[in-house]
Symmetry: C2
Subunit: 301 residues, 2 copies
C-alpha cells in the first residue's frame, strides 16, 4: 500500500464549527505521523470560518470543477481560488500529495453520524465498508445529480464525507465533537489495519442511493409556504411510502408523498439547502456485495 | 381596562422562523377579535424572513431608538425604516394603536420557554407575573446595559419578549411551534381574565437581573479561540460560583469563573450574539414582592 499522506478537512463550510474543534483537540493530542502515514489537518474555508458564515462567494463544496476553475470570472470567487489552492497544495499532483481526503461536515438535519459517498469508486467503498462494519453507519451515495457537482472529495483519488447532525450552524456541541473525534481516530486505526493487511471487508455494503430532491411548497411569489410535516421532521433514513405526509402548508393542508416507489429521505429540513430549493433529498436502498477488487484498488492508491 | 388592541410580533429576527409559523397556525384557527380585544399579528422583519437571515442592515430589535430614527444616515437602513413603520402603524400614537406588544423570539441557547423584560415597568411585571404563575417560566430582566438598547417592546407602553430555545436558526421544530401556540393562547386567556377582574397576582415575581456579558476567549487576531465548556453548555439559568468552568480553549486550558458573586447565566452560546462579542450573559436572582399598583397600572393602559 502506498498511502503516505491523508488530508482531513474541517470547516469546508465556515459555519460548521464542531469538526474544526474536534480536529484542534485531536491535533493537540495525537501525532500527525502514525505508522508511516502522515496526516494533514486543514480548515477548508478559513475566511468563512472566521466570519461564521457558510461561504464568502460560492459554496466551496461545489467548487471543485476542473473546467470552471480556469474560468476568469469564477476565478474572482474566493472559494474557486481556495479550491485551486487546496489542490495545488494537497491534491494528488500537489506539493504535499494526499491520496485520501476525509471531509468533515455537520448538518441541521437529524442524520446521526453518517457517511456520504460521491459516485461508485471502489476505493471509497473499501473505506466506507470498514466504517459501516465497525459502527453501522448509514451511507448516502450521491450520484447522477447534475444540479449538484464539484464536491471536494471527488477531486482526490479516494475520499468520503463524514456528516453528523442534528446540530445548529455555529453552535458548539461537545457531544458532536466527541463523535467526530471517535470517527477520526477510528479511521486512522482502520487505515493502519488495511496497510498491514489485518482487515477483512464485510460481505456487503448497504447504501442509500440518491434519486432526487423535493422542494418546499411555495406561494406565488416563490416564498416557502409549508413546513416539513411534524411526522416527517427528524425522520431521516426512515422509509416513506405513498400517502405518507411530507409537508404542512400555511393553510393547514397536508402534502403527501404521491410516488409509487418506496423512498428513504435524507437531509430533511437542512437549513443550508433552502437556498438550493431542497427540503429533503430522497434515496433508494441498495445492497452491494463487496469485492476483493475494493481492497486491491485501495492498496494501489 | 382600556386595552383594545394587542400586537403580536413574530420574525423580528428573520431567521427565527418557528414563531412565524405558530402565528400563522394560530391566526387561521382563532379570531383576531376576542372579548373586545383585537389582536394584530405581524411579521417584524418580512424581508429578512423571506431571505432567511437575521436582518438586512442592522438588528431590528436594537432599532427602536427615538433619537436615531430621525438620523439621515440611519434612515437608509431597512430596519430603521421598518421600526418607524411599525410605530406609525401600531405604536400607541399610530393609526391602529396597540397598548401591548408581545415579541416572539427563538434562541439557539437552551433557555427553555422564558420571558424577557426590559426595565421595571409595573405593567410588564403584571403580565409576566401571570405567566410565571401559570407556567413557572423564568424571567430575564434586562436593564442598565448601555451596549444593548433600542429593543422593540420598549417602544410600547407594555410589552414582553417570549424567548424559546434551543432551536437552530431557520430550522422548523414542531415542538417549539406548539410551545409558542400554548403561550399565545394562554396570554389571551390571562389578559381576558385581567380585563374581567378575575385574576389575582401571585405574591412575588422571581427575576434574573442582567449584570453583564462575557466574551469568548480570543486569539491575538481577535478570532474566537475557546468554546463554552462542556459542563457549561446548555446549562442556562443554572447557578455559577467561583472556580466553575466557563470555557475550554484550543490549548485545552479551562477558563474558570473568577468572580465572588454567585451568577446565573443566560443565552449561553447563542449563535447570534457572537457578532456582539457575547458568549453568555449573566444575572443575579432577585425576588420582587408584587404590588396592587401593578394591576392598577395595567388597567390604566
Amino acid at each position: 500500500m502506498t498511502v503516505q499522506r491523508i488530508l482531513i478537512v474541517s470547516g469546508t463550510h465556515g459555519n460548521e464549527i464542531n469538526p474544526v474543534w474536534a480536529v484542534k483537540q485531536f491535533n493537540r493530542e495525537e501525532n500527525s505521523l502514525k505508522h508511516g502515514i502522515e496526516y494533514e489537518y486543514i480548515i477548508g474555508n478559513p475566511v468563512a470560518y472566521e466570519k461564521g458564515c457558510r461561504y464568502i462567494d460560492v459554496d466551496l463544496n461545489r467548487s471543485f470543477k476542473e473546467s470552471e476553475n480556469c474560468d476568469q470570472q469564477k476565478n474572482s470567487f474566493y472559494e474557486t481560488n481556495r479550491a485551486n489552492f487546496l489542490l495545488d497544495e494537497f491534491g494528488i499532483d500537489g506539493s504535499k500529495p494526499c491520496q485520501i481526503v476525509i471531509d468533515l461536515h455537520t448538518t441541521t438535519a437529524n442524520m446521526g453520524t453518517s457517511i456520504v459517498l460521491y459516485g461508485r469508486r471502489f476505493k471509497d467503498f473499501c473505506l466506507a465498508a470498514l466504517l459501516q462494519n465497525k459502527f453501522g453507519l448509514p451511507i448516502y451515495l450521491h450520484e447522477k445529480d447534475k444540479a449538484q457537482t464539484g464536491f471536494l472529495v471527488e477531486a482526490w483519488p479516494c475520499g468520503l464525507v463524514i456528516e453528523i447532525g442534528a446540530v445548529a450552524q455555529n453552535f458548539y456541541d461537545p457531544k458532536i465533537i466527541d463523535r467526530f473525534s471517535l470517527i477520526i481516530s477510528s479511521l486512522r486505526e482502520e487505515i493502519d489495519k488495511l496497510k498491514n493487511n489485518l482487515i477483512e471487508l464485510p460481505k456487503e455494503l448497504v447504501v442509500y442511493v440518491h434519486q432526487g430532491s423535493i422542494d418546499y411548497p411555495r406561494d406565488k411569489k416563490g416564498v416557502i409556504d409549508g413546513l416539513i410535516h411534524p411526522e416527517r421532521i427528524n425522520q431521516d433514513w426512515k422509509m416513506i411510502k405513498k400517502g405518507d405526509p411530507l409537508f404542512l402548508d400555511s393553510q393547514g393542508i397536508v402534502h403527501k408523498y404521491d410516488g409509487d416507489q418506496l423512498i428513504w429521505p435524507v437531509f430533511i429540513g437542512e437549513v443550508a439547502y433552502k437556498e438550493k430549493n431542497i427540503a429533503m433529498s430522497y434515496t433508494k436502498k441498495e445492497v452491494i456485495c463487496s469485492k476483493k477488487q475494493w481492497v486491491q484498488d485501495f492498496e494501489s492508491l
